[in-house]
Subunit: 364 residues, 2 copies
């Protein structure tokens, strides 16, 4: 069986030129409180329903990202967006007024990574100057849709995760500086999207919708292994390998699965679901989840550290549980998926490691 | 305000190398009965639930398309899929076993056009040799989710459309023949994806979820107008302008809206929702709808006619109503979206009309 590579190599070095994060009360009491661009303490975001509040999260994230880039919405060619609410309507209603050509995506909690992957693909190919990726989640819109009405007050299991009320947006644009020399003269580093590894649907027959970390960990392992195989990079080439929201349970599983493949990422691994809340104080059990988890943690914590030069190379691996309550009721298992993008200050970060890569795609 | 163009020009002429359509009983009694690749008279597709049946539609469509191309699933680099069921699970469960890197999309009934747009974008950029787009819908899974339980037996209004039980898959691959001369020597024509116009979210404040044609028509008009503006093509350059599923009500609205912009497409216009059922005999009121409507009609009826040489140039404009029952209950209107791809036998179909297009994107 021919092994097709599924990592895309972005030869034109598209850059993340702007980004913004939004969070709410619980996140503002968490470990990353100081890093969000916008904190709204009212969980309704001054709207009337949880879904409208979630739309507001995306609206604020995109508006902030445009402001920070000092551009108008008409300077963006494409926007990729999705969320957890049925029919992804929080995205639709959030973005309706921006008038940006819109491509709806659904990757569950991997949505931010999927959006960045596609946005970078479009920009690197020259189809547009700029593309945006945005996503959100809201504890209350997710809880009532996926689990129980909030007023039911059900007991949560220890493996359950807490859906983040928040979101993030990134703007990816064509790079005007091509050489490493030009980049190194700058004190403020560029955030280059160097490659993207498209996830496969991986199903280990997990049926417990209160243990999504276990459902997603095998998919994360599959994508991370393929990334290293496709690029010939080594674990030590990266400062961080950041998973979306495996939480405590899923993160431990991921490390164990990779150890079986003789890969130890324990030093480089961070998980957005683990990072966002305070373990002992906030009673979130296995950590945070939701599309807004990895979107806000990436935009609030990691991207500024690439820009400042603190982080040179990191793999951002968004993870999603492709579940629906209806199919769970029908007895189905929960497949997982993970998409990964390599973020780097350096135009030659991957080139060094590549054996015979051609423009646009890794050699097969 | 700078007018950004949002039509992508595919300079490397990606081709639709294979395609397949699937339908069920009502569609087999309709106008296009003789053209589907696979007809399953059991609405359960020999499965236990409507959702499992819908997954089976996608599984059959992809399997057929791979068979017709005489390739295995590992020859496909990416698959784009989505559907109407919450969290797009019919796609997930259908494609789980194919092991193809998967990118979930949500475009409501415009999903086929969105998937083709993105698949062609990836292949044209050289990120992979082949990409597949697939989607489905099922009358019974849609009806109980969007409207009423089937057993309720509610009266349908005349503007309502009938969700198609069916689907389609296309495989888009890199073109090996570049010149028009080489193409013309062949009796069996290639189906080239020449351009793609990304839709914008258009909201005319329609709130009647039994009149989706009215919600989608303005979006179709917006995309069609931008296509002609971006490409400098004329209506008469096209044999057909095919909309996804505006139905009878929406189609008339579309023609009226375009007439206000001095554009008459009445000779070229066809609508998949109008075409699929027999108007007087099948009691579907305003026609067919659902992701599977345009996917199956395109694959069953139009693509073979491009291949045979009967159709030279056509615009396939998928239309979607970005609604959800929950947000409708909250009083929201129904925004529409439409994505369009230009399909052509000719590598120079657009080039003739272009004024200063560069590779990959129309000049701004």
């Amino acid at each position: 069986m021919k092994n097709m590579k599924s990592t895309i190599y972005f030869d034109r070095n598209p850059v993340i030129s702007s980004f913004a994060s939004v969070a709410s009360k619980k996140e503002a009491e968490g470990s990353l409180a100081n890093f969000f661009d916008h904190i709204e303490m009212d969980p309704y975001f001054k709207k009337e329903t949880w879904e409208q509040a979630e739309s507001e999260i995306q609206r604020i994230a995109v508006t902030k990202a445009l402001e920070k880039a000092n551009i108008q919405s008409n300077a963006v060619n494409f926007i990729f967006a999705g969320d957890l609410v049925n029919q992804c309507v929080c995205s639709t209603y959030a973005l309706r007024d921006f008038n940006i050509p819109f491509l709806g995506i659904y990757g569950a909690c991997s949505t931010m990574a999927e959006g960045m992957l596609l946005a970078a693909s479009m920009v690197n190919a020259g189809y547009g100057e700029r593309a945006t990726a945005v996503t959100s989640s809201h504890f209350s819109s997710a809880e009532r849709q996926y689990r129980n009405p909030l007023s039911y007050g059900g007991q949560r299991t220890q493996s359950a995760q807490w859906t983040v009320t928040g979101g993030g947006a990134v703007i990816i644009e064509q790079n005007t500086e091509q050489s490493q020399e030009q980049l190194e003269q700058k004190t403020e580093k560029k955030i280059i999207v160097k490659s993207a590894t498209v996830g496969r649907i991986v199903d280990y027959a997990v049926t417990d919708s209160s243990n999504m970390g276990a459902a997603m960990a095998p998919a994360a392992a599959d994508t991370i292994l393929r990334f290293f195989k496709d690029t010939n990079m080594k674990v030590t080439d990266l400062d961080y390998i950041v998973t979306g929201d495996l939480g405590y349970v899923g993160s431990e599983l991921l490390l164990n699965i990779l150890r079986q493949d003789d890969m130890d990422i324990s030093f480089q691994h961070r998980d957005c679901g683990v990072m966002i809340y305070k373990k002992d104080e906030q009673d979130t059990h296995s950590g945070g989840s939701g599309c807004g988890c990895s979107a806000s943690v990436l935009s609030a914590y990691f991207l500024p550290r690439i820009k400042s030069g603190e982080i040179k190379n990191m793999l951002f691996c968004g993870t999603g549980a492709l579940m629906s309550p209806m199919l769970s009721f029908q007895g189905e298992s929960i497949p997982g998926i993970a998409h990964a993008v390599l973020l780097s200050q350096q135009v030659d970060s991957v080139k060094l490691m590549l054996r015979g890569a051609s423009a646009g795609v890794f050699a097969r």
